[in-house]
Symmetry: C2
């Protein structure tokens, strides 16, 4: 089972993933796209990953912006698994 | 162009579409599904409609729950078009 990261560990991970922020015990990033279609394409790729990993971020779609909020409920906080999801989302957003 | 509905008109529409609430000049409903897959299927159908109508709700996905928030930015409030979108979403959620 995933183990909750310490504040120090979270801070280190956020240095490595600087587009993400810690907010109320979760990590969050807003991705900017060109239009709604691109937002939806991104959300569907994240959803495929989420189902494979059985780890589901909250996803807010506002036309050309998608905000992901991630934590691990079972662990009561932020885990390495959350940063794996963050890294994956960063990589597909950059690949376009 | 879409015309903003009066408070009275919004109230009448909400009587007809009772699962929706007015919140800060927008209408909102949270749909409950069985799982994440069903949430994503719903969101994709709403997205197809949104692109056809060129009218895009904000969509929040939390595993088996999807919250839609709808208003018409150009009209500065809630319009008949918003309730058309609401009706469509109600109908596909019921159809499953």
């Amino acid at each position: 089972m995933a183990t909750k990261l310490s504040d120090n560990e979270v801070a280190k991970q956020l240095e490595r993933a600087p587009d993400w922020s810690e907010i109320s015990g979760e990590i969050q990033r807003t991705f900017q796209f060109d239009d709604f279609k691109q937002s939806m394409a991104f959300v569907n790729r994240v959803a495929d990953y989420a189902e494979r990993a059985q780890h589901h971020p909250d996803m807010m779609i506002r036309y050309d912006k998608v905000t992901l909020t991630v934590s691990t409920h079972d662990a009561g906080g932020i885990t390495a698994q959350d940063f794996e999801l963050a890294d994956y989302c960063d990589s597909i957003a950059e690949a376009g």
